[in-house]
């Protein structure tokens, strides 16, 4: 620690001023490498079989009436993503009871791991559950198919 003033914290901008207003940042070499999104087996494990032609038809359907935009600003509109502003995973969430059969409970951990692998970061089961539920609300047809497979039938 020295007496008197320390070094100039804004020396960078001073230097730029001296260089006839050249506005380039000192070290913004473009990192052209795209974010990694491919993992070896992450997707395959989380996917279910036999949903080949489903997605196209379910995208046609407007799902806005079923689930709206999340109340918190998101990363895509220059807001702070929800995960940044909340203090803990339960914040802003109501607790609901979910009854699940054993095969789902057993698959759940693997599902969470697979999603985490894809994201490249840890993610909590609570977050994955809500995201999965939201995703399902954008894919009503797929949910209907499963329920039909379970034996729910139209009365027509």
């Amino acid at each position: 620690m020295k007496k008197g003033s320390g070094s100039d914290p804004f020396a960078d901008v001073r230097d730029e001023d001296d260089d006839a207003g050249e506005a380039s940042q000192p070290d913004d070499e473009l990192d052209t490498e795209p974010p990694r999104s491919d993992t070896e087996d992450g997707t395959a494990r989380g996917e279910t079989a036999d949903d080949g032609g489903q997605t196209a038809s379910s995208e046609d359907r407007s799902t806005e009436a079923i689930v709206g935009e999340p109340p918190q600003d998101g990363a895509t509109d220059s807001g702070v993503p929800w995960v940044y502003v909340r203090d803990n995973v339960k914040q802003d969430r109501e607790m609901v009871q979910f009854y699940l059969r054993d095969f789902m409970l057993e698959a759940e951990d693997e599902f969470v791991d697979a999603v985490g692998d894809e994201l490249g970061t840890d993610v909590s089961k609570t977050d994955v559950r809500e995201a999965a539920y939201e995703a399902a609300m954008h894919n009503v047809d797929e949910v209907v198919d499963r329920l039909e497979a379970w034996g729910f039938e139209s009365v027509d």
Binding site: S5, D8, P9
Partner: protein
């Protein structure tokens, strides 16, 4: 540009009050002055100066959003004019979770492969560099809370000079020693030279005490142009009325008190001294 952080390890030594008085003095000397309130507590500069900023609206843009690289607009839009001739970027409740938010922002930068460019302790300086602040102001003062942490580290990294109010007790002197260790570590971490513009013994009693503490601080090699005597009624009055000490004496005292004028003169001398030291 004169840049400094007002810091003391102990709370309640008049850091924000002296800071406000210094800011007003710099402005009275004809300088363009910006203060940044990094103190999340309610008893911060923003409260003292009675700035009506939306501190608990998490949707409103604020300094933390800029520090975590999620601004809602230009930094310049966060600047408030005070009644005292200087400008302020106010405090916000999001500062309470600054450490956590910076960690998550760091994590996200790492995930995107941009981690090398993201230094959680150098964010304030980076944000200011990208704004017009270094060109538009002559003086920048950052007021962090009285604890070591990311608020302090960002403040020191962005200013690299310190003004340290010191409690004139054994404990207060110990805190100066503790600060030396902290600053040494920080210098290494930030790879920047950090200087002490002034130590300010505050709240001392008799003249002989003033002399003793000033001597002790100077013997340690710190500039210490003035010691402020015990002025609790003046400083408490400022907080009651939410204004600077000079304004309080001018508007809220029915008669002139010589000892209070003397204190104001000393703070003004301190401001002048700081301005001169920074030019050396």
């Amino acid at each position: 540009m004169l840049t400094y952080t007002t810091y003391s390890e102990a709370g309640g030594v008049g850091k924000s009050t002296i800071g406000a008085a210094l800011l007003e003095s710099h402005a009275n000397h004809g300088l363009d002055v910006l203060a940044i309130d990094m103190d999340q507590q309610n008893g911060s500069l923003t409260y003292l100066l009675d700035i009506d900023a939306p501190r608990d609206d998490s949707q409103a843009d604020n300094i933390v959003r800029h520090l975590i690289d999620r601004p809602k607009g230009p930094l310049e839009d966060l600047i408030y004019q005070t009644e005292y001739g200087f400008d302020l970027i106010p405090s916000h409740n999001m500062l309470e979770s600054l450490e956590d938010l910076l960690n998550r922002a760091q994590q996200m930068a790492d995930d995107l492969g941009e981690g090398d460019d993201f230094d959680p302790y150098d964010r304030l300086r980076q944000v200011l560099l990208e704004s017009s602040v270094p060109q538009e102001y002559d003086v920048l003062v950052v007021d962090p809370p009285a604890t070591a942490g990311p608020h302090l580290y960002n403040a020191v990294s962005a200013t690299r000079s310190l003004v340290i109010p010191v409690e004139p007790t054994g404990k207060g002197m110990q805190s100066v020693l503790g600060l030396e260790e902290l600053v040494d570590g920080l210098q290494e971490r930030l790879e920047a030279e950090i200087g002490v513009l002034s130590a300010v013994p505050n709240g001392i009693g008799r003249t002989s005490d003033q002399d003793r503490y000033l001597t002790e601080i100077r013997d340690r090699g710190y500039p210490a142009p003035v010691a402020i005597r015990e002025r609790s009624s003046l400083f408490e009055g400022c907080w009651d009325q939410q204004c600077t000490p000079r304004y309080y004496v001018a508007k809220h005292r029915d008669r002139r008190r010589d000892h209070e004028s003397e204190t104001l003169d000393k703070i003004d001398r301190l401001a002048t001294e700081i301005e001169e030291v920074s030019e050396e």
